[in-house]
């Protein structure tokens, strides 16, 4: 009896429409700022070859993996931290960071019942749909708690279709041939400062492989969290869709309040072969720092997809509300003829947040198409930059790009900047770029006020309307989550 009632509540919740979100708003404090009380095993601060070896050993990695990490580390040592993004922060001391942290418990669990109840409570607070909720929401969750995966569900039903969905560490051991073939094939360890660092010390992340002709029957989802103080997070994700396969992947994250800045340098690699399609959606809500700009996550991420096969498609959708600093350019390399790349983005900055984000669309195959829709919202004293590169190569005849880049300002003290780079090397291709900047309309707010809607809700409504084209690309539950995050991060920001 009890159980049935419970299900009812859940199902009404999932069927909630977008307006419910506006009623739900409560406090503007970072809602998920708590520290889970689980003992962690954390490595001493600092980075050298021994630390890299230690990480590899902790994870029982084969020799070739250790070697790959070491090559990356040696390369990284010779590199310089990039200074071209439009963001400002005190120099990071990379020797003052701990590069490994794992919950002190056996990571191998067969079912959720075996998971530490403290951990489950944490997941609950984060709103992660576990157990029954998962079934109803149709979401399989590979939850990453700090650096080690502790619970992976739905694996069995995916297995039946031949789909692999596991942690990267596991894949290194169980599917070495796939890892050797694809890891670093889109983002090589020489790619950039943060990607090299990630290759040397990556902690864990997800691996997804969809075999030829298979449509993944559910949205795959991972929740990331940073939980140990001063522990850099170096997630690594690799998703491969073989010929004719389809998969939609969701990534969401929240982090607890901390005083010290925390470094996050993830790498995500996507590969689609002939006629394959992949959607990668992110709602990013790392701790942005307090109202004075103290604390907050530094988010330096390399995300790139390769449309290797003809007629293949990769679509990035991201909603970025968190982090003190965001440096992130999910990109597509359109190698296969007729392949399609998409980038839909909402980036919100408030208080003293800084974001330098955008995309790169590299057209190499013939008749390749890309669409870029970027919505930047700046409030408080924040700075929001769009940086986008559209490159159409000599052989990419008949290619098209459409870029739309809109900025909304919520105050007089914030900034919106657009840095579009366009390189077209053939005559039969076409690139279109549209950009707008507007201040949130007082007349719009008054109009909504006059219909009984509070200023807070009016702002949310106007902002949600502004972001509509991006939100409609997100799966339903994620769209609701995204609207909530936007509302929370913009509370009290009109002025």
């Amino acid at each position: 009896m009890n159980e049935i009632e419970e299900k009812k509540t859940i199902s009404t919740e999932t069927s909630s429409d977008d307006m419910k979100v506006l009623d739900d708003l409560t406090s503007s404090e970072y809602k998920w700022g708590f520290i889970t009380d689980i003992e962690s095993e954390t490595a001493a601060k600092g980075l050298n070859e021994d630390v890299v070896r230690m990480i590899s050993k902790k994870k029982n990695e084969p020799e070739w993996m250790t070697e790959w990490r070491l090559k990356a580390f040696r390369y990284w040592q010779k590199m310089e931290e990039p200074n071209w993004p439009n963001v400002h922060y005190p120099k990071i001391n990379f020797q003052d960071i701990s590069y490994y942290s794992a919950p002190k418990q056996k990571p191998k669990l067969n079912s959720l019942d075996e998971v530490d109840p403290e951990l489950l409570k944490t997941f609950e607070k984060l709103g992660i749909p576990l157990g029954e909720q998962k079934l109803l929401a149709g979401v399989a969750v590979d939850a990453v708690f700090d650096s080690v995966s502790v619970a992976t569900t739905f694996r069995e039903s995916l297995k039946e279709k031949g789909i692999i969905f596991c942690s990267i560490s596991e894949a290194v051991k169980e599917h070495p041939e796939l890892i050797k073939k694809y890891l670093g094939s889109v983002v090589p360890y020489t790619d950039n400062f943060y990607a090299s660092l990630n290759a040397a010390v990556f902690s864990d992340g997800s691996f997804v492989w969809i075999p030829k002709g298979v449509r993944c029957p559910m949205e795959l989802s991972t929740y990331f969290r940073i939980n140990s103080q001063d522990t850099g997070q170096f997630e690594r994700t690799l998703i491969v869709a073989e010929e004719g396969a389809y998969v939609s992947y969701l990534e969401g994250c929240t982090a607890p309040i901390r005083d010290n800045n925390q470094l996050h340098a993830a790498v995500v690699e996507l590969v689609t072969m002939d006629n394959a399609e992949m959607k990668y959606s992110t709602v990013q809500n790392w701790y942005p720092g307090d109202k004075e700009g103290k604390g907050g996550i530094y988010n330096f991420v390399t995300k790139r997809g390769a449309c290797r096969g003809k007629n293949s498609k990769i679509s990035w959708t991201q909603v970025e509300t968190g982090s003190a600093i965001t440096w992130k350019y999910p990109s597509c390399i359109l190698q296969g003829d007729n392949s399609v790349g998409e980038f839909y983005s909402v980036a919100v900055t408030n208080n003293y947040q800084q974001a330098d984000t955008g995309t790169k669309m590299i057209h190499l195959g013939k008749n390749t198409k890309s669409t870029v829709v970027s919505k930047g919202i700046s409030a408080g004293f924040s700075n929001n930059s769009y940086r986008g590169l559209i490159k159409i190569g000599k052989n990419a005849e008949g290619s098209r790009n459409y870029t739309q880049c809109d900025s909304m300002l919520m105050s007089d003290k914030c900034g919106a900047h657009t840095f579009p780079y366009i390189e077209v090397e053939n005559e039969s291709s076409k690139v279109e770029h549209e950009a707008t900047t507007s201040k949130i309309g007082e007349d719009q707010i008054f109009y909504l006020n006059q219909r009984g809607i509070s200023t807070e809700d009016a702002v949310n409504m106007i902002v949600n309307g502004f972001c509509k084209e991006v939100f409609k690309e997100l799966p339903m539950e994620f769209a609701v989550e995204a609207q909530k995050l936007l509302a929370i991060s913009l509370e009290g920001s009109v002025g």
């Binding site: 009984g452 309307g465 502004f466």
Partner: protein, 254 residues
């Protein structure tokens, strides 16, 4: 229902309303006419609480409550509605979503339960029919790409949906074709009842042929310089404003 006493208001430091006095009782329809720039829209904005307008003197009571003390959304929830002279566009938000939020806010404030989706939908269909509003306009973003006349119709549609007690119509007739004028006026007349009241701003007698006012006031340079019955509007139509301005300045003190 609405009692305005000695109302003064500034825009950008310049005095626009220079002492308005007006009593509107439940069940009444008052029309305000007057030359361009005389302060008609300013009065509507001041009554609904637009923050660009600064009240420097005077009082306004709405059902005995101090209206000027309330923020704009509270005034709306108390039952004040303005059909805007220039309705505003809200991109990306559908008319239906917008109205649902507004209606629920107003109902919540008045301790009424939210409408069920079916009740809401039925009401939409009902009211849209009265105004001959196309279904697509309801699912489209608020006023975005609406024609001038569609925007005005949409204002009256919102009025019917939200069921306010006191309605300000600011030149709702401008931009409407002859048929639309009749339909919109009909919408207003259907809604008109002994428990609500209207203040209708217009330049033209033809609207007042449909929506018959109980009183007509002439606003000039921020003051009401003449008040009368509905025949005053006919007189104005015939003679213009000049004859009052020169002849009958004393009525402002009434």
């Amino acid at each position: 229902m609405l009692s305005i006493k000695n109302l003064h208001a500034n825009v950008d430091g310049k005095e626009i309303l220079k002492g308005i006095n007006l009593e509107i009782k439940t069940g009444e329809v008052h029309a305000i006419m007057g030359p361009n720039g005389s302060g008609k829209s300013t009065l509507a904005n001041v009554l609904t609480g637009n923050k660009s307008y600064e009240v420097t003197n005077g009082t306004v009571l709405f059902e005995g409550k101090d209206l000027l003390d309330m923020d704009p959304e509270t005034r709306a929830r108390e039952g004040l509605f303005l059909a805007f002279q220039y309705p505003i566009e809200i991109p990306g938000i559908s008319n239906a979503t917008f109205l649902k939020t507004a209606l629920n806010e107003i109902r919540k404030y008045n301790n009424l339960a939210e409408l069920t989706p079916k009740e809401f939908l039925d009401r939409i269909k009902d009211k849209a029919k009265v105004l001959g509003l196309d279904d697509t306009l309801i699912s489209r973003a608020v006023n975005v790409g609406f024609s001038g006349g569609e925007k005005k119709r949409n204002e009256i549609f919102q009025m019917l949906m939200l069921e306010p007690k006191f309605v300000l119509l600011d030149e709702t007739d401008s931009g409407l074709d002859i048929d639309a004028l009749r339909i919109v006026s009909n919408g207003v007349n259907i809604y008109r009842n002994p428990n609500n009241a209207f203040l209708v701003v217009t330049h033209y007698q033809r609207l007042l042929n449909y929506i018959q006012p109980d009183f007509v006031h002439v606003l000039s340079k921020g003051r009401i310089i003449k008040s009368g019955g509905k025949e005053l509007a006919l007189e104005l139509e015939e003679k213009g404003y000049d004859w009052i301005k020169t002849k009958e300045f004393e009525t402002e003190k009434v």
